[in-house]
Protein backbone atom coordinates (compact mmCIF):
# COMPACT_ATOMS: atom_id res chain seq x y z
CA UNK A 1 0.00 0.00 0.00
CA UNK A 2 2.85 2.34 0.84
CA UNK A 3 4.54 1.26 -2.41
CA UNK A 4 1.35 2.16 -4.24
CA UNK A 5 1.22 5.60 -2.63
CA UNK A 6 4.90 6.38 -3.22
CA UNK A 7 4.87 5.10 -6.80
CA UNK A 8 1.94 7.27 -7.79
CA UNK A 9 3.33 10.22 -5.88
CA UNK A 10 6.49 9.88 -7.95
CA UNK A 11 4.53 9.57 -11.18
CA UNK A 12 2.60 12.72 -10.32
CA UNK A 13 5.77 14.59 -9.48
CA UNK A 14 7.80 13.90 -12.63
CA UNK A 15 5.44 13.71 -15.57
CA UNK A 16 6.29 16.92 -17.38
CA UNK A 17 4.25 17.48 -20.50
CA UNK A 18 0.82 16.11 -19.74
CA UNK A 19 -0.94 12.86 -18.93
CA UNK A 20 0.29 10.73 -21.84
CA UNK A 21 3.75 10.90 -20.32
CA UNK A 22 2.45 8.86 -17.40
CA UNK A 23 2.18 5.79 -19.62
CA UNK A 24 5.91 4.94 -19.70
CA UNK A 25 6.13 5.75 -15.99
CA UNK A 26 3.24 3.49 -15.06
CA UNK A 27 4.55 0.75 -17.32
CA UNK A 28 8.01 0.75 -15.74
CA UNK A 29 6.79 0.71 -12.14
CA UNK A 30 3.40 -0.97 -12.03
CA UNK A 31 4.04 -3.62 -14.69
CA UNK A 32 7.79 -4.24 -14.74
CA UNK A 33 8.97 -3.48 -11.20
CA UNK A 34 6.04 -4.42 -8.98
CA UNK A 35 4.05 -6.71 -11.26
CA UNK A 36 0.76 -5.24 -10.04
CA UNK A 37 -0.83 -5.91 -13.39
CA UNK A 38 -0.07 -7.82 -16.57
CA UNK A 39 0.84 -6.10 -19.79
CA UNK A 40 -2.61 -6.96 -21.14
CA UNK A 41 -4.36 -5.41 -18.13
CA UNK A 42 -2.14 -2.35 -18.43
CA UNK A 43 -3.25 -1.77 -22.02
CA UNK A 44 -6.88 -2.40 -21.06
CA UNK A 45 -6.56 0.11 -18.21
CA UNK A 46 -5.28 2.77 -20.58
CA UNK A 47 -8.07 1.96 -23.03
CA UNK A 48 -10.65 2.45 -20.28
CA UNK A 49 -8.95 5.70 -19.32
CA UNK A 50 -9.50 6.87 -22.88
CA UNK A 51 -13.21 6.03 -22.86
CA UNK A 52 -13.92 8.00 -19.70
CA UNK A 53 -13.92 11.79 -19.70
CA UNK A 54 -11.21 13.66 -17.84
CA UNK A 55 -7.46 13.07 -17.76
CA UNK A 56 -5.90 9.77 -18.84
CA UNK A 57 -4.36 9.60 -15.37
CA UNK A 58 -7.70 8.21 -14.33
CA UNK A 59 -6.27 4.80 -15.33
CA UNK A 60 -4.59 4.94 -11.91
CA UNK A 61 -7.98 4.03 -10.41
CA UNK A 62 -7.81 0.63 -12.12
CA UNK A 63 -4.29 -0.08 -10.93
CA UNK A 64 -5.08 1.03 -7.38
CA UNK A 65 -8.12 -1.24 -7.38
CA UNK A 66 -6.04 -4.23 -8.52
CA UNK A 67 -3.60 -3.67 -5.67
CA UNK A 68 -5.90 -2.87 -2.77
CA UNK A 69 -9.55 -2.61 -3.81
CA UNK A 70 -11.55 0.59 -3.40
CA UNK A 71 -9.11 2.07 -0.89
CA UNK A 72 -6.32 1.36 -3.38
CA UNK A 73 -8.06 3.37 -6.11
CA UNK A 74 -8.51 6.31 -3.77
CA UNK A 75 -4.86 6.12 -2.70
CA UNK A 76 -3.55 5.89 -6.28
CA UNK A 77 -5.71 8.74 -7.54
CA UNK A 78 -4.94 10.88 -4.47
CA UNK A 79 -1.20 10.26 -4.64
CA UNK A 80 -0.96 11.00 -8.35
CA UNK A 81 -2.93 14.25 -7.94
CA UNK A 82 -1.11 15.51 -4.85
CA UNK A 83 2.06 16.85 -6.54
CA UNK A 84 -0.01 18.47 -9.31
CA UNK A 85 -2.10 20.18 -6.63
CA UNK A 86 0.84 21.71 -4.78
CA UNK A 87 2.77 22.59 -7.94
CA UNK A 88 -0.19 24.55 -9.31
CA UNK A 89 -0.59 26.48 -6.07
CA UNK A 90 3.13 27.16 -5.81
CA UNK A 91 2.98 28.41 -9.39
CA UNK A 92 0.52 31.10 -8.34
CA UNK A 93 3.27 32.66 -6.23
CA UNK A 94 6.22 32.06 -8.53
CA UNK A 95 4.57 32.55 -11.88
CA UNK A 96 6.47 35.62 -12.97
CA UNK A 97 9.81 34.28 -11.87
CA UNK A 98 9.20 30.98 -13.66
CA UNK A 99 8.08 32.65 -16.85
CA UNK A 100 11.30 34.64 -17.19
CA UNK A 101 13.76 32.06 -15.89
CA UNK A 102 15.94 30.94 -18.79
CA UNK A 103 17.24 27.93 -16.93
CA UNK A 104 13.73 26.63 -16.31
CA UNK A 105 12.96 27.11 -19.98
CA UNK A 106 16.15 25.32 -21.06
CA UNK A 107 15.32 22.45 -18.70
CA UNK A 108 11.83 22.13 -20.18
CA UNK A 109 13.18 22.44 -23.70
CA UNK A 110 15.35 19.39 -23.00
CA UNK A 111 12.54 17.47 -21.32
CA UNK A 112 10.01 18.15 -24.11
CA UNK A 113 11.54 15.99 -26.85
CA UNK A 114 12.73 13.34 -24.38
CA UNK A 115 9.21 12.85 -23.15
CA UNK A 116 8.01 12.22 -26.70
CA UNK A 117 10.74 9.60 -27.09
CA UNK A 118 9.54 7.96 -23.89
CA UNK A 119 5.93 7.91 -25.07
CA UNK A 120 7.11 6.32 -28.32
CA UNK A 121 9.04 3.67 -26.40
CA UNK A 122 5.93 2.80 -24.41
CA UNK A 123 3.98 2.82 -27.67
CA UNK A 124 6.35 0.21 -29.12
CA UNK A 125 5.88 -2.24 -26.27
CA UNK A 126 2.13 -1.68 -26.28
CA UNK A 127 2.01 -2.17 -30.05
CA UNK A 128 3.92 -5.44 -29.75
CA UNK A 129 1.34 -6.73 -27.26
CA UNK A 130 -1.78 -5.33 -28.94
CA UNK A 131 -1.17 -5.77 -32.65
CA UNK A 132 -1.34 -9.54 -32.67
CA UNK A 133 -2.51 -10.11 -36.25
CA UNK A 134 -3.08 -8.33 -39.53
CA UNK A 135 -6.58 -7.22 -38.45
CA UNK A 136 -5.51 -5.46 -35.28
CA UNK A 137 -2.70 -3.86 -37.29
CA UNK A 138 -5.11 -2.58 -39.93
CA UNK A 139 -7.51 -1.35 -37.26
CA UNK A 140 -4.71 0.61 -35.58
CA UNK A 141 -3.78 2.19 -38.92
CA UNK A 142 -7.41 3.12 -39.59
CA UNK A 143 -7.68 4.69 -36.12
CA UNK A 144 -4.45 6.60 -36.67
CA UNK A 145 -5.77 7.97 -39.97
CA UNK A 146 -9.03 9.00 -38.27
CA UNK A 147 -7.11 10.80 -35.52
CA UNK A 148 -4.40 12.54 -37.50
CA UNK A 149 -5.92 13.01 -40.94
CA UNK A 150 -9.59 13.54 -40.09
CA UNK A 151 -9.18 14.90 -36.55
CA UNK A 152 -11.82 12.63 -35.07
CA UNK A 153 -12.12 12.88 -31.28
CA UNK A 154 -9.98 10.31 -29.42
CA UNK A 155 -12.86 9.05 -27.28
CA UNK A 156 -14.97 8.38 -30.40
CA UNK A 157 -12.09 6.55 -32.10
CA UNK A 158 -11.53 4.31 -29.11
CA UNK A 159 -15.25 3.54 -28.79
CA UNK A 160 -15.44 2.62 -32.47
CA UNK A 161 -12.39 0.39 -32.06
CA UNK A 162 -14.11 -1.40 -29.18
CA UNK A 163 -17.31 -1.95 -31.17
CA UNK A 164 -15.33 -3.29 -34.13
CA UNK A 165 -13.47 -5.56 -31.72
CA UNK A 166 -16.73 -6.87 -30.26
CA UNK A 167 -18.08 -7.94 -33.62
CA UNK A 168 -15.04 -8.85 -35.70
CA UNK A 169 -12.06 -9.72 -33.52
Amino acid sequence: MLDLFLTFLKIGAFTFGGGMVMIPFIEQDAVNTFGWLTNREFIDAIAMGQITPGPVVISSVFIGYKVAGLLGSVIAMGAVSLPTFFYSIAAAHQLHRLKGNLRVRAFLKGVGPAVVGMILAAGFTIARASLVDIWTGLLALACLAALVRFKVDASLVILAAGVIGLFFL
Partner: protein, 208 residues
Amino acid sequence: MEAAETDKEVPTPPGLLEMGKVLLKVGATGFGGAMPVLALVHTDYVEKRHWVSQEEFDEAVMVGQIMPGPIAVDAITHIGYRLRGWPGALVSVIAFILPPFLLMLALTLAYVRYGGVPQVAGIFKGLGAGVVAIIAATAWRMGKPHLRTVKTASLMVAALLALLLLKVNVVLLVLLAGLTGIALFRKPADLLPGPKPSGPNPTKGRAC
Protein backbone atom coordinates in the same frame (compact mmCIF):
# COMPACT_ATOMS: atom_id res chain seq x y z
CA MET B 1 -1.37 39.39 -3.19
CA GLU B 2 -2.72 37.34 -6.04
CA ALA B 3 -6.13 37.49 -4.44
CA ALA B 4 -6.07 41.28 -4.34
CA GLU B 5 -5.24 41.38 -8.03
CA THR B 6 -8.06 38.95 -8.79
CA ASP B 7 -10.56 40.93 -6.70
CA LYS B 8 -9.81 44.00 -8.71
CA GLU B 9 -10.55 42.33 -12.02
CA VAL B 10 -13.41 40.11 -10.94
CA PRO B 11 -15.91 42.05 -8.87
CA THR B 12 -17.58 39.03 -7.29
CA PRO B 13 -15.48 35.92 -6.80
CA PRO B 14 -17.63 32.85 -7.42
CA GLY B 15 -18.94 30.76 -4.54
CA LEU B 16 -17.27 27.44 -3.88
CA LEU B 17 -20.52 25.61 -4.54
CA GLU B 18 -20.98 27.31 -7.87
CA MET B 19 -17.40 26.55 -8.91
CA GLY B 20 -17.83 22.94 -7.83
CA LYS B 21 -20.99 22.58 -9.88
CA VAL B 22 -19.38 23.94 -13.04
CA LEU B 23 -16.37 21.64 -12.65
CA LEU B 24 -18.50 18.56 -11.94
CA LYS B 25 -20.13 19.22 -15.30
CA VAL B 26 -16.78 19.74 -17.01
CA GLY B 27 -15.41 16.57 -15.39
CA ALA B 28 -18.37 14.53 -16.60
CA THR B 29 -18.34 15.84 -20.17
CA GLY B 30 -14.67 16.59 -20.79
CA PHE B 31 -13.82 14.00 -23.41
CA GLY B 32 -10.83 14.11 -25.71
CA GLY B 33 -7.94 15.43 -23.66
CA ALA B 34 -6.59 18.60 -22.10
CA MET B 35 -7.47 21.07 -24.82
CA PRO B 36 -11.17 20.15 -25.21
CA VAL B 37 -11.47 20.23 -21.40
CA LEU B 38 -9.84 23.65 -21.24
CA ALA B 39 -12.19 24.85 -23.96
CA LEU B 40 -15.14 23.89 -21.74
CA VAL B 41 -13.57 25.67 -18.78
CA HIS B 42 -12.95 28.71 -20.95
CA THR B 43 -16.60 28.85 -22.01
CA ASP B 44 -17.82 28.82 -18.41
CA TYR B 45 -15.08 30.77 -16.61
CA VAL B 46 -14.22 33.43 -19.15
CA GLU B 47 -17.12 33.84 -21.57
CA LYS B 48 -20.27 33.04 -19.58
CA ARG B 49 -19.41 33.95 -16.00
CA HIS B 50 -16.43 36.32 -16.32
CA TRP B 51 -14.72 34.77 -13.31
CA VAL B 52 -11.27 35.22 -14.86
CA SER B 53 -9.91 37.38 -17.65
CA GLN B 54 -8.52 35.95 -20.87
CA GLU B 55 -5.03 36.84 -19.70
CA GLU B 56 -5.42 35.00 -16.40
CA PHE B 57 -6.81 32.01 -18.25
CA ASP B 58 -3.82 31.94 -20.61
CA GLU B 59 -1.49 32.11 -17.61
CA ALA B 60 -3.25 29.13 -16.05
CA VAL B 61 -2.83 27.11 -19.25
CA MET B 62 0.86 28.00 -19.26
CA VAL B 63 1.15 26.81 -15.66
CA GLY B 64 -0.43 23.56 -16.82
CA GLN B 65 2.19 23.16 -19.51
CA ILE B 66 5.19 23.99 -17.35
CA MET B 67 4.22 22.04 -14.24
CA PRO B 68 4.23 18.25 -14.14
CA GLY B 69 0.90 16.48 -14.11
CA PRO B 70 -2.17 16.63 -16.35
CA ILE B 71 -2.36 20.04 -18.03
CA ALA B 72 -6.07 20.56 -17.43
CA VAL B 73 -5.87 19.60 -13.75
CA ASP B 74 -2.93 21.96 -13.23
CA ALA B 75 -4.77 24.83 -14.88
CA ILE B 76 -8.07 24.23 -13.07
CA THR B 77 -6.37 23.96 -9.67
CA HIS B 78 -4.37 27.10 -10.35
CA ILE B 79 -7.48 29.12 -11.26
CA GLY B 80 -9.33 27.73 -8.23
CA TYR B 81 -6.52 28.91 -5.99
CA ARG B 82 -6.38 32.37 -7.49
CA LEU B 83 -10.15 32.79 -7.15
CA ARG B 84 -10.77 31.35 -3.69
CA GLY B 85 -7.44 30.34 -2.12
CA TRP B 86 -6.84 26.84 -0.75
CA PRO B 87 -10.52 25.89 -0.46
CA GLY B 88 -11.02 26.98 -4.06
CA ALA B 89 -8.14 24.80 -5.26
CA LEU B 90 -9.35 21.81 -3.28
CA VAL B 91 -12.97 22.08 -4.40
CA SER B 92 -11.82 22.54 -8.00
CA VAL B 93 -9.64 19.46 -8.21
CA ILE B 94 -12.10 17.21 -6.37
CA ALA B 95 -15.12 18.34 -8.39
CA PHE B 96 -13.25 17.86 -11.65
CA ILE B 97 -11.84 14.43 -10.80
CA LEU B 98 -14.94 12.96 -9.15
CA PRO B 99 -17.07 12.13 -12.23
CA PRO B 100 -14.29 10.37 -14.20
CA PHE B 101 -13.15 8.66 -10.99
CA LEU B 102 -16.57 7.13 -10.43
CA LEU B 103 -16.90 6.14 -14.09
CA MET B 104 -13.48 4.52 -14.08
CA LEU B 105 -14.31 2.69 -10.87
CA ALA B 106 -17.49 1.33 -12.45
CA LEU B 107 -15.55 0.19 -15.54
CA THR B 108 -12.92 -1.42 -13.32
CA LEU B 109 -15.54 -3.38 -11.38
CA ALA B 110 -17.13 -4.51 -14.65
CA TYR B 111 -13.71 -5.50 -16.00
CA VAL B 112 -12.80 -7.55 -12.92
CA ARG B 113 -16.16 -9.30 -13.17
CA TYR B 114 -16.56 -9.84 -16.91
CA GLY B 115 -13.02 -9.44 -18.24
CA GLY B 116 -12.78 -13.14 -19.11
CA VAL B 117 -15.91 -13.33 -21.28
CA PRO B 118 -14.89 -13.98 -24.95
CA GLN B 119 -16.93 -11.06 -26.38
CA VAL B 120 -15.27 -8.75 -23.87
CA ALA B 121 -11.86 -10.07 -24.92
CA GLY B 122 -12.82 -9.06 -28.48
CA ILE B 123 -13.72 -5.56 -27.34
CA PHE B 124 -10.35 -5.13 -25.67
CA LYS B 125 -8.52 -6.47 -28.70
CA GLY B 126 -10.13 -3.63 -30.64
CA LEU B 127 -9.47 -1.12 -27.86
CA GLY B 128 -5.81 -2.16 -27.74
CA ALA B 129 -5.41 -1.31 -31.42
CA GLY B 130 -7.13 2.03 -30.76
CA VAL B 131 -4.76 2.79 -27.86
CA VAL B 132 -1.73 2.19 -30.09
CA ALA B 133 -3.16 4.65 -32.61
CA ILE B 134 -3.85 7.27 -29.93
CA ILE B 135 -0.32 6.98 -28.53
CA ALA B 136 1.15 7.27 -32.03
CA ALA B 137 -1.05 10.30 -32.81
CA THR B 138 -0.12 11.98 -29.53
CA ALA B 139 3.58 11.35 -30.09
CA TRP B 140 3.27 12.76 -33.61
CA ARG B 141 1.45 15.87 -32.42
CA MET B 142 3.79 16.47 -29.46
CA GLY B 143 6.92 15.52 -31.40
CA LYS B 144 6.47 17.50 -34.61
CA PRO B 145 7.81 20.80 -33.22
CA HIS B 146 10.90 19.02 -31.86
CA LEU B 147 11.84 17.60 -35.26
CA ARG B 148 12.78 21.07 -36.46
CA THR B 149 16.25 21.17 -34.91
CA VAL B 150 18.91 18.47 -34.79
CA LYS B 151 19.44 18.97 -31.05
CA THR B 152 15.85 18.37 -30.03
CA ALA B 153 15.34 15.57 -32.54
CA SER B 154 18.45 13.77 -31.21
CA LEU B 155 17.20 14.15 -27.66
CA MET B 156 13.96 12.51 -28.70
CA VAL B 157 15.68 9.56 -30.34
CA ALA B 158 18.13 9.21 -27.45
CA ALA B 159 15.29 9.03 -24.91
CA LEU B 160 13.42 6.51 -27.06
CA LEU B 161 16.45 4.20 -27.28
CA ALA B 162 17.41 4.67 -23.63
CA LEU B 163 14.00 3.53 -22.49
CA LEU B 164 13.37 0.86 -25.10
CA LEU B 165 16.78 -0.83 -25.17
CA LEU B 166 18.53 0.13 -21.95
CA LYS B 167 15.43 0.36 -19.75
CA VAL B 168 16.80 3.46 -18.04
CA ASN B 169 14.77 4.61 -15.05
CA VAL B 170 12.12 7.09 -16.22
CA VAL B 171 12.69 9.67 -13.47
CA LEU B 172 16.42 9.64 -14.13
CA LEU B 173 15.74 10.01 -17.84
CA VAL B 174 13.57 13.10 -17.33
CA LEU B 175 16.18 14.72 -15.08
CA LEU B 176 19.01 13.89 -17.51
CA ALA B 177 17.05 15.35 -20.40
CA GLY B 178 16.41 18.54 -18.42
CA LEU B 179 20.09 18.91 -17.54
CA THR B 180 21.04 18.27 -21.15
CA GLY B 181 18.60 21.04 -22.04
CA ILE B 182 20.35 23.43 -19.65
CA ALA B 183 23.72 22.49 -21.15
CA LEU B 184 22.56 22.75 -24.78
CA PHE B 185 20.29 25.76 -24.80
CA ARG B 186 22.38 28.48 -23.23
CA LYS B 187 21.57 31.34 -25.55
CA PRO B 188 18.21 33.08 -25.15
CA ALA B 189 17.85 32.76 -28.93
CA ASP B 190 17.64 28.97 -28.51
CA LEU B 191 14.53 29.49 -26.46
CA LEU B 192 12.84 32.11 -28.56
CA PRO B 193 9.91 30.07 -29.88
CA GLY B 194 8.80 29.84 -26.27
CA PRO B 195 8.80 26.93 -23.88
CA LYS B 196 6.27 24.50 -25.21
CA PRO B 197 7.00 21.37 -23.24
CA SER B 198 4.17 19.53 -24.90
CA GLY B 199 2.73 22.05 -27.30
CA PRO B 200 -0.80 20.72 -27.25
CA ASN B 201 -2.91 22.41 -29.88
CA PRO B 202 -6.59 21.89 -30.40
CA THR B 203 -6.09 18.73 -32.46
CA LYS B 204 -7.77 15.78 -30.93
CA GLY B 205 -6.03 13.24 -28.81
CA ARG B 206 -5.62 12.90 -25.10
CA ALA B 207 -2.71 14.83 -23.76
CA CYS B 208 -3.93 15.94 -20.38
